[in-house]
Amino acid sequence: MNEPILAVRNLSKTYMQGKIPVHALTDVSFDVEKGEFLSIVGPSGSGKSTLLSMIGLLDKPTGGSVLIDGIEITKASEREAPRIRREKIGFVFQHFNLIPTLTALENIDIAMRFARVPKGRRRERAIDLLEQMGLRERMNHKPSELSGGEQQRVSIARAMANHPAIILADEPTGEVDTKTRDMIVGILKSLSEKGQTILVVTHDTAVADRTSRIITMRDGSIASDISD
């Protein structure tokens, strides 16, 4: 078996809510192979967003580890974290989180700026990605001039910009209508077919049903892990 692109090992996270400890994650372990398209589902408070934050290096676990491409990212120092985020992880958010003052093209460009990609290459890559998303004509529009579906496609393009090992999508269809939802899931699916590993956190069973593997979370632990 190949080395997994993502390995989660005995991951735990305990918050302190005042003086009461809250166990958001308890001993979660699973592996993800390259090119997998999986979803994490579960009710609110089941720990799926917390899990995503740990994998995305946005938060530190209280126990266990996360390995991406064999690198233990949970051990990364404050100084190493930005580089890992840039090179290994691409985020897609529920609220799109595009920078409102920048155009579609610039929103993709800025992700590569942080990775110190030279200007010419950035532009080329950004246009290429927008082309893939069918947004070439919209590249000079600001987020406020784009529909929800278009904005989410821009943010998928942004997540792809630095060739991440894994794309983490947090409720990517939470704010769009069903038709747009289907299109976005279709895009993610076709990306995974080209070898991109994608992990989606969602409430929406219609989204989860189209992924090849569904992990169900309950009370901070994995309740089920079903592959097609």
Partner: protein, 384 residues
């Protein structure tokens, strides 16, 4: 990254405009107040350099009102090491109208010593006083300009004599025989007339206000100053160095007052930058969180926020310096027509203003930038 800074700044035109205006007001104050203090410094500096080689002998107990008998001039001259000594009489040109800045004054001076008293000062027109001159006057350049006088014109001089409860004002016309070139010193505001006429006109008998003593080439002015003090009774002596020290002291106080007022204004400008930046940072909390999630380094965030603050600082600085320079220029033109100059913008002052504006921008951007950079990306992204 710089284009991102510009983008953000131009996105909020009104707020940026107000902040930049605040800073430029502060820097404007530095230029104007600083320009005033620099002008005083320069005037004193030039005045001292014109009379730097001379020892001043004054009446014991202060300069105002008291006077020295002319016999003291001979006594001073007899002190070994004194090459020359001469007395001068000083009085305000217009005793009824004593202003604070650039007061015009009359100097009664022995005609043959006039050139020596002002070192190398040249004439713009006419001639110096000569022995035997009657009611003749040589004008400093500011006086000539103020009253629009040329060689051959007449200048009216008033003297005021207290007589019991009233006072008598004497008016006399003096013919202008020469006009001095601009020196940037007190002499620009002087009306120089022969000493004997001054003594008559001001009814001062054979007295003078002060004596200039010139040391000879081989004598140390400091030592000679002490020697004069010991040899001549009831006088106070000031060596060139002492004069310089005394004037510098009073200038420092003046500079402190003006500069601290200006700096206060600039700091208020700085606080407005900090306020703007704190607002901008908290408005863009999500944006910074997002940038961090995309892998932005701390220095990227610092660069973006501090760069924005520094940019506003520099922009405000440039506007403040430009408007300050224009204001000072106009004021000087206006005042020059009235015989005085109040401001001087020196390279030193410009450097101070530019450095101050930039530092202000950067310093007031530091805390907001630190807040932005230290934000946890997750918390920032959750921020609504």
């Amino acid at each position: 990254m710089f284009d991102l800074i510009i983008k953000n700044i131009t996105q909020r035109k009104l707020r940026t405009g107000l902040t930049v205006f605040g800073i430029s007001l502060g820097i404007f104050a530095i230029i104007v107040m600083g320009g005033m203090s620099e002008n005083f410094n320069l005037t004193f500096e030039r005045s001292i350099s014109l009379t730097a080689d001379k020892i001043r002998v004054m009446p014991e107990g202060g300069f105002f009102g008291a006077s020295l008998n002319e016999s003291k001039v001979r006594e001073v001259r007899r002190v070994p090491g004194v090459a020359d000594a001469y007395g001068m009489l000083q009085a305000p040109l217009d005793p009824e109208n004593l202003g604070f800045f650039g007061v015009d004054f009359v100097i009664g001076i022995p005609p043959e010593k006039q050139q020596a008293a002002m070192k190398d000062t040249e004439l713009k027109g006419g001639r110096f006083l000569v022995p035997g001159d009657g009611y003749r006057a040589v004008l400093g350049s500011s006086v000539a300009r103020e009253f629009n006088l040329n060689v051959g014109d007449e200048i009216e001089i008033k003297s005021k004599r207290a007589l019991r409860a009233t006072s008598i004002t004497n008016i006399k016309n003096f013919t202008v025989v020469g006009v001095l070139e601009y020196t940037g010193s007190f002499f620009d505001n002087s009306v120089q007339i022969p000493l004997d006429r001054a003594q008559d006109f001001y009814n001062r008998g054979n007295t003078v206000s002060l004596i200039f003593a010139v040391p000879d080439a081989n004598t140390d002015p400091e030592e000679l100053t002490k020697r004069i003090g010991l040899n001549v009774e009831r006088v106070t002596t000031f060596s060139p160095d002492e004069i310089r020290r005394q004037i510098e002291q009073s200038l420092i106080i003046f500079s402190l007052i003006t500069i601290s007022a200006a700096i206060l204004a600039a700091i208020i400008g700085g606080l407005s930058v900090m306020n703007t930046m704190l607002m901008a940072v908290s408005e863009r909390t999500r944006e910074f969180g997002l940038m961090k999630a995309m892998g932005a380094e701390t220095r990227d965030i610092l660069f973006l926020t501090m760069g924005e603050a520094a940019f506003m600082g520099v922009l405000g600085g440039i506007i403040g310096i430009a408007s300050g320079a224009i204001f000072v220029n106009r004021m000087n033109e206006y005042l020059a027509a009235r015989g005085t100059v109040l401001f001087a913008i020196t390279p030193r002052l410009l450097v101070i203003a530019i450095v101050f504006a930039t530092l202000l921008g950067i310093l007031s951007g530091t805390y907001p930038a630190y807040r932005a950079a230290k934000m946890s990306p997750m918390e920032a992204l959750r921020h609504e």
